[in-house]
Amino acid sequence: MADVQLTVSDLISTTTGKSSKIFTLVGQIDESNVMPLVEKIYAVIKEATPGMGYIFDLENLLYMNSKSVGYMTDFYNQIKTRGGNMVLTKLQPNINDILSVIGLTRIIPVAQTLEEAKNLV
């Protein structure tokens, strides 16, 4: 069975004072484990203040299926509706490949580093 770990941390910009959330995903996401994971992420988005920025740190995400990409799209829609921003960062080459072929990297900003992601969010 695929295993994925989610860590949620808070980030406050020292220059702007803006708050952001960092979702760090480690492991693989497929049909066997996607639902519990997305429920946790939805809960954070729902409880956060409007305008919050979100960084998805995918450095150690080794696989994601199309269903999880669908949820990424919905996270983006919900975050934008709430006046916030969403950035993906440190994508593994195969993850970048998956998101690119689906077209998501044309819509959601992708940063190479966490520093770059902080500036984009």
């Binding site: 049909e31 669908g70 799209t73 490949d97 044309r106 819509i107």
Partner: protein, 184 residues
Amino acid sequence: MTDLVSGSEVAASQNPQPKPTEIKIILPTNAYFMSGIRDFTLSLIRNMTDFSEQWAFRFQSVVDELCSNAIEHGSSSDDTIEIRFLNLPGEAIEIYVEDHGTGPDGPLTAEQIREKIAKNKAMDVLQMGLRGRGLAKIVSEWTDKMEFFDTAKGGICVMVRKNLHDDKFKEVLPDAMDPTHIVI
């Protein structure tokens, strides 16, 4: 009297064409097993074919999406699906995934699936909802052929094929070292 043998016959006997390799897997319809199938696919492509590392990861996704679709839409929870890998050395790889049509929404036809995929392919990525990207985007883009067949057992068989040497890539980058890579 000496029998005369053509040069091509001599060459063929000295360098026989490698035979295709077929591997068949029967998988219970449980997403629990998908990580193992992905690992197997990655290993198979790396060790048994001439596709690049990038394509090994792409086939991981292709197989995962095909199997997940067969499990979710084409199968009951206590059924099996069949996966067949057919490696044609130096030429292509073909992957077949077959279900028994015992899914929760009743048996789908190949034509219904083709129509659904065509509809999803035409949609904007943000408007697609949560589902539909697997076959319409991932499998469709990363294979040269994707065909659906109704089976005698009432299910669906999907066949995908990826050619090792893609002439489409040669047109873009004729001097590319790796014919399965495209540089944008």
